[in-house]
């Protein structure tokens, strides 16, 4: 018995002694995402891209191995996200935080990043102000004003003078509404009416009918990805709203791949603004989409591209610091970083730590018998306009 105890004791001691060495060798990345629940697919796509990046670029940077610790928030849960971020920093001793599909979760975890001085890469959450909450955070996805103010201004330029807006009644929806209305009004357009509908809304007939009765020149729609884009797209077509007469504008979620499949011909003619689509024509994107399909048998989406570029930023920043992982060195390395992404040229704004990128205007057209988002106009080097105004 005693021998056994001694044996166990020495084994434990050996393990304890061994683990710190191991921890120092590896760079630990804490990923916080909604792996389960309503938003699970966004996390699946983001994680796919992260895994693909690591498999293509190797699992060590600057001589140190990269390790991931994945944590599930289960959906919109800022309290859980904050707790997970704390656990990751305090108990698991991660070197940096990444992931963050949803705004409330990203905001909550930003406090931890600021306090613990940990580099934080936001790979999707798109509300403008998130990056102001921690001086160590940066973003590789988009901001909603970046896309929608651009779209609003573009809509006026394309000849629309009177528009109606309909958006989901929650943070990102309000941001989309504000962004489009501001861009459109600043250009000289007039908003003839607007409505906000509940986030969990199974039937859009009443809201669409209301918009139709006002007979606007254009309808702007903002709904989160998932079930709703197809539902509202079908309802628009069902009410006889013809995109050739009444223009339909939206952020890219509205015509994402799965939504287009469900909408069929009902989606044709809808104009959306986005920063990435798997149909984007470039050699780099073609290779990316091919590798992605090879590994996961589906096309990448914006969550994938956010994850991919997020990993790229992490790898490049680590190379620049020579493997140093403190927040100050990493954020300094990230500021002003420029690279070519499958979505086009992107860079990190040294002032706001937010992404600067090309914004594409696309129309749903039939390509080879299938509805696709076809890019037909673009605005280059768009900065987040919201934070530009905050400074003034």
């Amino acid at each position: 018995m005693q021998k056994l105890l001694i044996g166990l004791g020495s084994l434990a001691a050996a393990l304890l002694a061994a683990s710190p060495v191991h921890a120092q060798g590896a760079i630990k990345i804490g990923l916080i995402m909604p792996y389960s629940g309503q938003f699970a697919d966004t996390a699946t796509q983001m994680d796919n891209a992260i895994k693909l990046y690591v498999s293509q670029h190797g699992d060590s940077v600057a001589g140190r191995k990269i390790e991931f610790i994945r944590k599930d928030t289960g959906g919109i849960a800022p309290d859980i996200a904050k707790r997970l971020a704390q656990e990751l920093v305090v108990r698991d001793k991660v070197d940096l935080l990444a992931g963050f599909v949803l705004t409330p979760n990203a905001l909550a975890a930003s406090d931890v990043s600021a306090e613990a001085k940990k580099f934080m890469v936001i790979m999707n959450a798109a509300t403008a102000i998130i990056t102001t909450k921690s001086p160590y955070s940066t973003r590789t996805s988009l901001t909603i004003p970046q896309l929608n103010e651009t779209l609003g201004a573009w809509a006026y330029k394309s000849g629309v003078r009177k528009a109606y807006t309909m958006v989901s009644d929650f943070g990102p929806g309000h941001d989309g509404e504000n962004g489009f209305q501001r861009g459109f009004k600043d250009a000289g357009g007039q908003i003839v009416g607007s409505v906000r509908f509940p986030v969990a809304n199974p039937d859009f007939s009443a809201f669409v009918q209301r918009a139709k009765d006002l007979n606007p020149e254009a309808i702007y729609v903002w709904v989160p990805g998932g079930v709703q884009p197809a539902a509202i797209g079908k309802t628009l077509a069902e009410r006889g709203i013809d995109p050739a007469k009444t223009r339909i504008f939206g952020q890219g979620e509205l015509t994402e791949e799965s939504a287009l499949k469900s909408m069929g011909d009902a989606g044709l003619g809808i104009i959306t603004v986005y920063h990435y689509d798997y149909n984007h024509a470039s050699a780099m994107n073609a290779a990316f989409v091919k590798a992605y399909n090879g590994a996961y048998s589906r096309n990448p989406d914006i969550y994938s591209i956010g994850g991919w570029d997020g990993m790229h930023l992490i790898y490049e920043a680590l190379k620049k610091t020579g493997g140093k992982t403190d927040g100050d060195s990493l954020i300094a390395a990230a500021k002003g970083m420029k690279w070519e992404s499958p979505r086009g040229p992107v860079s990190i704004d040294p002032e706001t730590r937010d992404i600067i990128q090309t914004v594409y205007i696309r129309r749903v057209e039939k390509v080879g018998g299938q509805p696709r988002n076809v890019e037909f106009d673009k605005v280059e080097n768009v900065k987040d306009p919201f934070k530009a105004r905050m400074k003034k």
Binding site: S36, G37, Q38, A40, D41, T44, D169, V195, R196, F197, P198, A200, N201, P202, D203, S205, A206, F207, Q209, R210, D213, G226, V227, Q228, A230, A231, K234, A237, E238, R239, G240, S258, A259, K261, S262, G264, A266, R298
Partner: protein, 287 residues
């Protein structure tokens, strides 16, 4: 003025029928058999996935998938009924809730494992798409089809339960198990068939609903609240009650969203509260 009003009434009624199709199975299992079956929408989701798989992978026509959606949900439910549900017929409501909510979690995880977390593409055949205009009112073809389907199912169910020998056995077994057993009715068998019927209807409702509400693994949870509202407002044990409640809820929901969009989807809960305060046992509830 009349145009929009009639349009709102039609849309509301059609939305109500969508709710009814999703919940009619539950008014059989919860309403008649008194089993708190929170896994109802899991069976609906199963029906939805059957339809989607058959249409997209095997190229079946939409209508041919409907009987299979019904049968698949019914078959799975019989297995679950014989293995799990049967043991809890006399247990407390809480035990039944715990078992069935567990089944919901399992079904959500299974769907995510098999089909992935992605939204399933649902495309209806051309003749069910689009809309036509009658006297200034825009009628969507698929919604009209839903109304027809709901009416047909109500008629068949009410007639079947009121006027057939099996219907009489079901009512007897539900009202007084011991007496029914004493009369030589195979209560276990009747319950199994009734449960399969309820779940089969859920599967059918699911495959009819996905064209409007979409389908992903969270379906089993998302629509649970709506079907519970319909069944409790309609009154337990009454198919007609569910029908009327679904129609009222649908119309008030759509009218509310059209005329007072600020209230949004809150109105459906307000209507439920009002109706339940007025009639705590539901519109046509007996107990």
């Amino acid at each position: 003025m009349i145009g929009p009003l009639v349009g709102v009434l039609f849309d509301g009624f059609a939305y109500g029928m969508l709710l009814f199709l999703l919940s009619v199975g539950l008014s059989v299992t919860l309403g008649m058999m008194n089993f708190v079956n929170l896994a109802h929408c899991s069976f609906a989701m199963l029906g939805g996935y059957v339809t989607v798989s058959l249409m997209n992978d095997l190229g079946w026509p939409f209508f041919a998938t409907l009987p299979l959606a019904f049968l698949a949900a019914a078959a799975v439910s019989v297995v679950l009924e014989r293995v799990l549900y049967r043991r809890l017929y006399r247990a407390s409501d809480l035990d039944q809730c715990l078992l069935t909510i567990g089944i919901v979690f399992v079904s959500v995880a299974s769907a995510a494992y098999i089909y992935g977390t992605v939204q399933q593409p649902v495309q209806m055949p051309d003749y069910l798409q689009g809309s036509f205009v009658v006297m200034g009112v825009n009628i969507a073809v698929y919604r009209l089809f839903l109304v027809g389907a709901a009416l047909a199912i109500t008629l068949i169910l009410v007639a079947g339960l009121e006027y057939t020998r099996f219907g009489a056995q079901v009512r007897a077994a539900v009202d007084n198990q011991r007496m029914a057993r004493g009369l030589g009715i195979n209560v276990g068998g009747v319950f199994a068939v009734t449960f399969a019927l309820g779940s089969g209807l859920a599967g059918l409702g699911g495959s009819l609903a996905i064209a409007i509400v979409g389908l992903d693994p969270s379906f089993a949870f998302t629509y649970l609240i709506y079907v519970l509202i319909v069944v409790s407002t309609g009154g337990l044990g009454s198919i007609g009650g569910s029908f009327v409640a679904a129609a009222l809820l649908g119309i008030s929901d759509v009218a509310g969203k059209y005329y007072v969009p600020q209230l949004g989807s809150f109105l459906i809960y307000l209507v439920m509260l009002g109706m339940l305060m007025w009639r705590p046992a539901g519109l046509f509830g007996k107990r």
